[in-house]
């Protein structure tokens, strides 16, 4: 299926040397590689769900470009990341392995984020300061302000990136967090992945405005809307926001327009609430197909490299699946431990 989409992308003969922003050609191909890995892994997880092996999946398909480009504009050794549940590409881009992630979806022993206590992708990253404590939508936003406040107090030039969907913007917590961050000029990048749906509720029932970024002015911070299928646009907006944050100039709201190519989660059926037309149009905004077209146009990708990238992704995911499935389940004797500092 990915190959189909890829081959449908037109290929042009002449392309300028790609130096958009500070992204190099190899950056672009690297991002494509990560997006492909994410896509192949995502499809595998969906399959494992349909096989009854993964209890729940929230697919990142459609959000890959936005996530990979944002990650690329940050520094995992320095910055903080408060993600939400639809961040498979972010997790890969920041260094988690498919095996680690699959252990989460399959709840296997050694799962690094939460020891299998939480839904997949929830918990804390084993190496980067990335975490997601709760499924309750919106709670991460004030927390991000707090993380950034601590950095500011210590005089550390780090950015705190907080990820959320359009749905989360309706929560009181979103308002309170943005307001506080703006008052104290905190180094926060508010990153809204606007896929126009909160499960089944379309944007028109979530807000009477067109773009979430329009709210930024009401807090006294810059807000921008970018095409979330355009890695360069996202990267540039993110790079500016991260620089602003680390430079002590305060928060920024970035709204990346993306599509949710799959239903909300594996428990959902989007044909109940999305029109055939909407679904068809949304399919046309596949960020992987879009980047592929661009790379081919710029002669950064040809059939050989394309084949190599997809084959490698599949090989990695196959191997990780095997390894994850071979692992056992977490030791039940452990289930009450590590609730308090003592114990």
């Amino acid at each position: 299926m990915p190959d189909d989409r890829a081959s449908s992308a037109p290929s042009r003969s002449i392309a300028p040397e790609p130096r958009p922003g500070k992204l190099t050609a190899s950056d672009l191909v690297g991002m494509y590689r990560t997006m492909v890995l994410s896509r192949v892994l995502d499809e595998r997880i969906w399959l494992l769900n349909r096989q009854g092996k993964a209890a729940i999946v929230a697919s990142a398909q459609g959000h890959e470009a936005a996530q990979v480009a944002l990650a690329r504009a940050t520094d995992p050794a320095r910055d903080h990341y408060l993600i939400y549940y639809r961040e498979l590409t972010t997790l890969l881009a920041l260094g988690m392995t498919p095996l680690e992630l699959l252990k989460g979806f399959l709840c296997r022993d050694g799962e690094p984020l939460s020891g299998g206590r939480q839904f997949p992708t929830h918990g804390a990253h084993p190496r980067v300061d990335l975490f997601s404590f709760s499924n309750v939508v919106g709670t991460q936003l004030p927390q991000a302000a707090g993380v950034a406040l601590a950095d500011k107090m210590r005089g550390e030039a780090r950015a705190t990136i907080v990820y959320f969907g359009d749905g989360a913007t309706s929560q009181g917590d979103c308002h309170e967090a943005m307001n506080f961050a703006a008052i104290h000029r905190l180094p926060v990048v508010f990153f809204c992945e606007n896929n126009r749906y909160a499960i089944s509720v379309p944007l028109s029932k979530q807000m009477a405005i067109e773009n979430v970024a329009a709210r930024a002015a009401g807090y006294g911070m810059p807000g921008v809307t970018v095409d979330g299928t355009d890695v360069i646009a996202v990267f540039e907006a993110a790079q500016a926001a991260v620089a602003r944050a680390r430079g002590g100039k305060g928060p920024t709201l970035i709204e990346a327009m993306v599509e949710r190519l799959f239903p909300h989660t594996s428990d959902d059926d989007h044909t109940r609430y999305r029109s055939a037309d909407d679904i068809k149009q949304m399919r046309g905004k596949d960020p992987i197909a879009i980047l592929e077209t661009q790379l081919r146009r710029q002669r950064l990708l040809d059939d050989a490299l394309h084949t190599e990238i997809w084959a490698e992704a599949k090989r990695i995911v196959n191997q990780a699946t095997e390894q994850a499935e071979a692992a056992g389940f977490p030791d039940p004797g452990d289930f009450s431990k590590r609730l308090y500092a003592e114990g």
Binding site: I56, G116, Q118, F119, N135, V136, G138, S200
Partner: protein, 327 residues
């Protein structure tokens, strides 16, 4: 009589009340075209239209607050919280405000609203789709808290809740939704709020419980029957106001009591039941009241092995009953 699941009974109750009373409307996340994440409102948008089936933004505090406003202005909102775990942002409106409107206006205003929410574990919901949240509501004067276990009770009590002039928190154990089936009369009926129900008669010991655990206790009781132990199972059905008389009467007969619930042990619903029994049936008791509950660990870990460790089961309950019977 038609046989229904719990979720069907919930749906029928709402549908009948919406047909009967134009003041009744529903609001919540994904209840419209989606029909609710558990399909409790499947088909409602088509039948009742967008005016009475309102897909809200993702904002629980306002869901409760808007319901309050509509209720005091003459409507009968049914607000759905998608999962009980997500009701915390709405606590200020439900517990802080709705519960006190009648009291705080000396009886001149009141809020006839129902806040429905699926709760409970055993569905691989992990830490944020498994919580039991009953005691937080049940402790607050001014709220009515209902937690039915069967389709019959769910329908009769939900209809009563919708007609009730006080705010009702209606807790639906999500594991019972499709698991539990039962007879439900086709005709209109309501059940009294605030009455427990003896789901099984027995002379040897009393199990006081509610929600999914009613079914586990009944299963355990059937196991013990084979061993010659007769367990009486009292289903509280309403947690507030609490029907003390029904379980006290049972304990006075059996002289032994076990309280079973899925929620945390310490400061859980079971504490009130056990304390009440120990106080008001002090001289009738042949053994200390046993509390068999969920552990004091966040509800509940996601991995199947960990979740199984957290959850009670008919087997665990049967063995606690066996021990109590032998006391």
């Amino acid at each position: 009589m038609p046989v229904m699941t719990v979720i069907e009974a919930v749906r029928e109750a709402m549908r009948e009340e919406m047909r009967r009373d134009s003041r009744v409307f529903i609001m919540g996340e994904d209840i419209g075209a989606r029909g609710g994440v558990f399909l409790a409102t499947d088909g409602f948008l088509q039948e009742f239209g967008e005016q009475r089936v309102i897909d809200t933004p993702l904002a629980e505090s306002s869901i409760a607050g808007i319901a309050i406003g509509a209720a005091v202005n003459g409507m009968r909102p049914i607000a759905e919280i998608e999962f009980a775990d997500f009701v915390w942002p709405a606590m200020n409106q439900i517990v802080g405000v709705a519960s006190r409107i009648r009291y705080g206006t000396n009886g001149t205003k009141f809020a006839p609203m129902v806040v429905r929410m699926p709760y409970g574990g055993g569905v691989r919901g992990g830490l944020y789709h498994s919580q039991t949240i009953d005691v937080v509501f049940a402790h607050q004067p001014g709220l009515i808290v209902i937690a039915p276990s069967t389709p019959y009770d769910a329908k009769g009590l939900l209809k009563a809740a919708i007609r009730c002039d006080d705010p009702v928190v209606f807790l639906e154990h999500k594991r019972t939704y499709r698991l539990v089936k039962g007879d439900v009369p086709a005709e209109d009926y309501v059940l009294p709020i605030g009455r427990a129900d003896v789901k099984r008669q027995g002379a040897d010991l009393t199990a006081v419980t509610y929600g999914l655990m009613v079914h586990y206790c009944l299963e355990a009781a059937r196991k013990l029957e084979a061993e010659g132990i007769e367990v009486e199972v009292v289903d509280l059905r309403t947690l507030a106001p609490l029907d003390r008389e029904t379980f006290l009467e049972s304990v006075r007969k059996t002289s032994k009591a076990i309280v079973v619930h899925e929620d945390y042990h310490t400061y859980g619903v079971g504490a009130e039941i056990a304390a009440t029994i120990a106080q008001d049936a002090f001289h009738d008791l042949d053994a200390p009241v046993v509390r068999l509950t969920g552990p004091d660990v966040p509800a509940m870990p996601f991995a199947p092995t960990l979740e199984a460790e957290f959850m009670l089961s008919p087997e665990k309950i049967a063995s606690a009953m066996r021990e109590l019977a032998a006391y």
